[in-house]
């Protein structure tokens, strides 16, 4: 059993390499063994946890849910043959259908024409529908100032776009002009950094003693 578990663990970790025969053996074993299936699930969960790949919310038993959903689905049987499926009739029926569609389209068009005509007439007959004349200053805002308030955020947006553009251009330029000195010097500095860090961590560990 422990050998089986080890094989499974190696498979989950991708350590079995390319030799597919051993993988197939493990997979067959998993298929026929419910305990191994449970292990399979938990190993994958552990692996994802270790690699910090767990999703925000974990859905266990998704397979069960799908199976239930399939159970609940009403069965669709093949429809019985009717007289419509006879060769001659089946050729004629589409014609009839098309004719019906044409009739519907035509009646819709007529309805639209009538409707549009009625609408136009209504417009002509109701002069009260026209917009009322603007009475000077309404709510403290004249139409002119209304236009201005609209214009200000627009120019602000343009200004902001221009500023962002300026920053982005400069950022790109700075990255271009960023230079790295000879790699050897840099690595020496870095080693020092690591040493310092280690030294510090040593001190921290030693203080309790």
């Amino acid at each position: 059993m422990s050998q089986k578990l080890e094989n499974l663990s190696a498979l989950v970790d991708g350590e079995n390499g390319v030799s597919s025969s051993s993988n197939n053996l493990v997979l067959d074993a998993v298929k026929n063994d419910t305990e191994l299936q449970l292990k399979w699930k938990s190993y994958h969960l552990i692996r994802d946890g270790l690699r910090q790949e767990l999703p925000a919310n974990i859905n266990f038993d998704i397979a069960d849910k799908i199976a239930q959903a399939i159970e609940a689905e009403p069965a669709i049987l093949a429809p019985k043959k009717t007289w419509r499926d006879l060769p001659l009739v089946s050729n004629i029926v589409p014609f009839a259908k098309q004719g019906g569609q044409m009739a519907i389209a035509a009646s819709v068009a007529v309805a639209m024409i009538i409707g549009v005509q009625q609408l136009n007439q209504a417009d002509v007959n109701q002069p009260f529908n026209a917009a009322p004349p603007i009475p000077g200053i309404q709510g403290g805002l004249s139409p002119v100032s209304f236009d201005q308030t609209r214009a200000i955020p627009n120019s602000g947006a343009v200004e902001q776009k221009r500023r962002i553009n300026a920053y982005m251009t400069d950022h790109k330029q700075q990255l271009r002009f960023k230079t790295i000195e000879s790699v050897n010097d840099k690595s020496a500095i870095m080693n020092q950094d690591i040493k310092n860090q280690e030294a510090q961590s040593d001190i921290v560990e030693n203080t309790p003693q």
Binding site: G14, Q160, I164, Q174, V183
Partner: protein, 339 residues
């Protein structure tokens, strides 16, 4: 009579004890120093060992790689990347943008020359090409070990070759993560994905062709080092007495540049700070607020860069770089006047 031998014995015991304590310590110290210099102390199947293999391969092999850079919102950009080491051990590198009018960068040793349309050619003194990929990471992956975690994920097939996948995650989640696929045989890069906190893809480099040759590409023989443009030297800028200090710098990042500069587009004078951790570079701009210039707080992404502009105290602060908006905000909010 009895006292003296006892004293002698006790002193001997102390001496041997002391020796016993010091000798192993000394050996330990020696081992540590040797492991730091060789860099090959990682177990052969660890992610670190793979990254060391990658940086060795990037610096020492003769290769021609074609790759495509993909960013959200812009067209794909195909590049040709060649590298060679000649008989004298001189490193030569070429990077060429293959679409449009082209852009060519050539590095011979520590001199990087840029040939671009509409700009006279120029050279910089640098040991890396700061191009579309993080060259510094390819050459010095060890630099990331302080702030990132390396995880060996598994094998897969990329660009028709067997590849080893490595996941690089920010330890404190203050930066984006990377998925890197390295060629099983040579250790060279085959694919690189930068992903955000919800594992969404932000930027991708996909290699489409990889050739490793015994000799450097004939292209490098045609370059005459004497004909390359002059090196532009930026004089050492005057030490800046800034009134502002940054309180929070993400772990592993350092200030690598700080000066006053005039923005080319708008002509405004700003204080500029560049932070880098060896993988991502972040620009921070500080501008003192003018009285009648209201500025909206804004956060968004431009291609794969995050851009954050906030009003903070007497300053307008803008942070740009490939890092999560929360980190950009934390950096900007931590800026204070020095008392």
């Amino acid at each position: 009579m009895l006292k003296t031998p006892l004293n002698k014995i006790s002193s001997r015991v102390v001496l041997t004890l002391l020796i016993c304590m010091f000798v192993p310590l000394h050996i330990c110290a020696q081992e540590e120093s040797s492991s730091e210099t060789s860099n090959k102390s990682y177990p052969s199947d660890s992610a670190q060992a793979w990254l060391v293999k990658m940086s060795d391969a990037v610096k020492s092999l003769n290769y021609t790689i074609s790759f495509i850079l993909l960013k959200p919102g812009v067209d794909s950009q195909p590049y040709l990347w060649r590298h060679g080491v000649n008989e004298d051990g001189l490193e030569m590198e070429q990077l060429n943008l293959l679409n449009g009018p082209g852009r060519e960068v050539v590095r011979i040793g520590d001199k990087v020359s840029y040939f671009e349309p509409n700009v006279p050619p120029y050279s910089l003194q640098s040991s890396i090409i700061n191009g579309p990929f993080p060259s510094e990471f390819f050459q010095l992956p060890e630099k990331l070990m302080l702030s990132y975690e390396f995880i060996l994920v598994g094998r897969s097939r990329i660009a028709g070759r067997a590849a080893q996948q490595i996941r690089i995650i920010s330890k404190d989640k203050s930066r984006f993560g990377l998925n890197v696929w390295l060629d099983q045989e040579t250790g060279l890069l085959l694919k690189m994905n930068m992903f955000g906190q919800e594992a969404q893809l932000l930027e991708q480099i996909q290699v489409t062709g990889l050739q490793v040759t015994k000799d450097p590409d004939p292209f490098f023989e045609k370059i005459e080092p004497g004909m390359l443009p002059e090196v532009i030297s930026f004089g050492p800028s005057a030490p800046l007495n800034s009134k502002w200090s940054i309180g929070y710098i993400p772990k592993g990042m350092t200030i690598i540049k700080r000066d006053l500069r005039r923005l080319a587009v708008s002509g405004e004078v700003v204080e500029y700070i560049m932070l880098s951790d060896g993988l991502v570079d972040v620009s921070v701009y500080l501008q003192e607020k003018e009285n009648n210039k209201p500025q909206e707080n804004l956060v968004g992404t431009v291609q794969s860069d995050t851009l954050l502009t906030i009003e903070h105290g007497e300053l307008n602060i803008t942070v740009i770089g490939k890092l999560p908006a929360a980190t950009a905000n934390a950096i900007a909010k931590s800026i204070q006047r020095i008392n």
